[in-house]
């Protein structure tokens, strides 16, 4: 197999979960984040800064900082500023609860391509049912602060039985904040979402209506609607055919082959990024990953195993 990743000397994107800790306890969370749920052995500040320096040295152009809630990490800005000062483009995924004017000013000094704020409801009642502990007013205030600072705002919406009736209102809200993109797709059956699946999974009818809404909204100019591939299985099928040039880094420095698969192909605490990149490329050639991908494409319930991480031996 000759894939695009085999011609690149480093990934195009590093998706880096800085911490599993979060200030909200969302029912739909695919990383099983919640207050106090930092992963054992998360990278320390020094280790995280070493990884940031390695990312810069390898000329990775784009880094997404996420979590958990990345702003809960005490070294979030240290990492973001180390990367940004070296010219690495950034995407930040946040719930917006801590994104006040001061935080937005610090981000505005960096080469930020997107700040993605989760808006999983358009009323406080719905939002807080899905995002326990969350304040919709704070999330909206974060969006306004980003808009005022001229930072590119992206909204994400995780559809569930709880909030899907408010999808159209959330899309309208995103437009009112000047968001350049609205990002959604089928709910992922991973982590906390898998545990609450019966209470969360929208019905087939709800999904049909939701897709029709997205199609209608996509025809309206002013904001991109991004919802393809809609299902995790379709995304995985694409990845199996053409593996993305992306390293998904867990808070402890482990590298996951794909969000829907449990396999760990590298440990950035113990090896340099270049070696992890080689292991990742080898992982996509392994029979184990190919078989697991085929299974996850065919059987959605298999996604529930995605957080039961399994080290994969993929020596060159």
């Amino acid at each position: 197999m000759s894939a695009r990743i085999d011609s690149l000397e480093a990934p195009l994107l590093v998706t880096w979960q800085l911490t599993r800790d979060c200030d909200l306890a969302c029912m739909h969370c695919c990383t099983e984040s919640a207050p106090g749920k930092a992963l054992a052995g998360e990278l320390t500040r020094d280790e995280a800064l070493r990884l940031a320096a390695d990312i810069v040295a390898n000329r990775v152009p784009y880094v997404m900082l996420c979590g958990g809630e990345p702003l809960v990490s005490p070294h979030f800005f240290d990492v973001a500023e180390a990367l940004g000062a070296a010219g690495v483009a950034l995407k930040i995924e946040t719930n917006g609860q801590r994104l006040d004017a001061k935080a937005v000013r610090r981000l505005a000094a960096l080469p930020v391509r997107s700040v993605q704020v989760s808006l999983d409801g358009d009323t406080q009642e719905t939002y807080a049912r899905q995002r326990a502990g969350g304040s919709l007013a704070k999330a909206h205030a974060a969006c306004r602060a980003l808009q005022a600072a001229g930072l590119p705002l992206e909204i994400t919406f995780a559809p569930t039985r709880i909030n899907i009736a408010e999808a159209e209102a959330v899309i309208g809200r995103a437009r009112s904040f000047g968001a350049f993109r609205f990002n959604t797709g089928k709910l992922m059956r991973i982590g906390t979402a898998a545990r609450h699946w019966r209470r969360l999974e929208p019905s087939e009818h709800q999904y049909r209506e939701f897709r029709a809404l997205l199609d209608r909204q996509a025809a309206i100019p002013g904001m991109e609607l991004c919802y393809e591939p809609f299902r995790m299985e379709d995304g995985l099928r694409r990845s199996a055919a053409e593996p993305p040039a992306t390293l998904l880094v867990l808070p402890n420095g482990w590298v996951k082959v794909a969000a829907a698969l449990p396999h760990i192909c590298a440990d950035l605490r113990r090896m340099p990024l270049a070696e992890a990149w080689e292991s990742y490329r080898n992982a996509w050639r392994s029979a184990t990953v190919a078989a697991a991908a085929r299974e996850a494409i065919a059987i959605e319930v298999r996604h529930e195993r995605a957080n039961a991480w399994q080290p994969l031996s993929v020596n060159a």
Binding site: Y62, E154, N183, P244
Partner: protein, 48 residues
């Protein structure tokens, strides 16, 4: 590594080793313009 060895014309002349033409570099440096919209839009962990 492949290389051509030109035999000396006289016993006094040393052999001249001519390196094969340099192969095209295998690796591309990743560039921001190669990051597709899809990669930019679709986080690999989508719903946190």
């Amino acid at each position: 590594m492949s290389e051509k060895v030109r035999k000396p014309k006289t016993p006094q002349q040393p052999a001249i080793r001519k390196p094969a033409a340099r192969r095209k570099a295998r690796w591309e440096t990743p560039k921001m313009q190669d990051v597709s919209d899809e990669v930019m839009a679709q986080p690999y962990i989508r719903f946190t």
